[in-house]
């Protein structure tokens, strides 16, 4: 059957509640899991360690936010397996967060403006 190639990592069941079941067992999975764990642990320890280092506050803040996004990437990509889903699905999940970036910009600008306003009047 030719269409067997259309479903490389799953199979259809007769069950209406679980029509499509993914099959992606790979013996290397566990190595990836533990590697992800060590990366997350190392980043967290690194963050706690540099929190008290004599580094400028602004640089620390940017470092923490970048490291947080790196940690989020590892959780979503490997623990939640999004890296191995179809690219169209990954984009469906990730792209809406562009709106969150927009909201961050607006809300923080508003907060800073109100702070300035309080000082002026």
């Amino acid at each position: 059957m030719a269409h067997q190639h259309d479903k490389p990592h799953g199979y259809y069941t007769g069950d209406i509640h679980n029509q499509f079941v993914e099959e992606h067992y790979d013996p290397k999975n566990r190595a990836v899991i533990w590697r992800t764990f060590w990366i997350l642990l190392f980043i967290t320890i690194f963050e706690v360690a540099i929190a008290f280092a004599p580094i400028a506050k602004d640089i620390l803040m940017v470092t923490f936010i970048v490291l947080t996004i790196v940690k989020a990437y590892f959780i979503v990509a490997f623990f939640m397996h999004l890296k191995h889903e179809k690219l169209s699905f990954a984009y469906t999940i990730v792209l809406p967060f562009v709106l969150i970036v927009y909201l961050i910009g607006m809300a923080l600008a508003e907060g800073s403006f109100l702070n300035l306003w309080d000082h002026l009047f």
Binding site: F20, N29, F97
Partner: protein
């Protein structure tokens, strides 16, 4: 019906989106879990962004997390970040046991799934206990406390202002809302006479600084904690199903994957809470 369903599966159409196929190669249950998590992530994002906006607005009197969360069980002294670091470790660890349960499910290894699910539940309870302890200390506050004026200005006891410890403030000294050290005895007595002495934080007062900090802390960590609690309850139900052999009979362990997605999401949110409440 069954024959009809089989027929559509046997003859899928040529184009991806016209039926008979799973265009994203995921089951609808998993896809809907992802869509729910996206909406939940929007809720958490909005809460944390609101926290950020208010923090920018009241930047001068916003508490410093390293002055607020300084305790560690059974150890005396000033230990900021140690306890929350441990909590983060517990949650990451329970995420690992969860993903190992999913992995065991792919191998159809019912016993391993049960063991890893059990460890995940233990991790969840440990995290909830830690959070209760953290809340207790935040609500209970410090022995020295702070003095709050009628207009809401907060004069902290210098013993709690760890950033000033290098300059060895004298006992009984106060720290003004603009972080100036007040050592003059008459001025201190004047403030104490007019102010109310408070300990710890609640939704109205916060001895560490602006009350909104406490409001956001209780709401966001409470909302997250409730997610953890729900996750533990769902994990317990799935664990009991595993013990009863429900998924072994069904032939696949997709339910473990769906609860796993939720559990990792809870871990993901904590990564952001950890950064924005404790680190920056």
């Amino acid at each position: 019906m069954a024959a009809e369903a089989t027929l559509t599966q046997e003859t899928p159409s040529k184009t991806l989106w016209s039926g008979g196929k799973s265009p994203f190669n995921v089951s609808w249950g998993k896809m809907m879990m992802w869509f729910f998590l996206v909406s939940d992530a929007f809720t958490f994002s909005s809460l944390i962004i609101a926290y950020g906006a208010m923090r920018h607005r009241f930047a001068e009197i916003w508490p410093k997390a390293n002055d607020v969360f300084t305790h560690f069980p059974f150890i005396e002294g000033h230990l900021p970040l140690a306890y929350v670091g441990l909590m983060t470790f517990i949650l990451i660890m329970s995420s690992v046991t969860m993903v190992l349960a999913v992995d065991a499910g792919h191998r159809r290894d019912n016993k391993s799934v049960a063991v890893w699910m059990f460890l995940t539940i233990i991790g969840g309870f440990m995290f909830l206990g830690s959070q209760a302890w953290e809340w207790y200390h935040f609500i209970h506050g410090t022995e020295a406390g702070a003095y709050i004026m009628q207009d809401g200005a907060i004069y902290r006891d210098a013993a709690n202002a760890y950033e000033l410890h290098a300059s060895n403030p004298p006992a009984g000294a106060l720290v003004s809302p603009s972080n100036e050290l007040i050592t003059d005895k008459a001025a201190i007595e004047g403030i104490k006479a007019k102010a109310e002495h408070i300990h710890g934080a609640n939704l109205v007062h916060n001895e560490y600084g602006h009350p909104l900090f406490a409001d956001f802390f209780f709401f966001i960590t409470g909302f997250h904690g409730f997610h953890v609690f729900s996750g533990v309850m769902i994990n317990i139900i799935i664990f009991l199903n595993v013990l009863a052999g429900v998924y072994a009979r069904r032939g696949h362990y997709e339910h473990i994957e769906k609860t796993g997605l939720y559990w990792h999401f809870v871990d993901l949110v904590w990564v952001f809470v950890f950064t924005f409440f404790y680190l920056v």
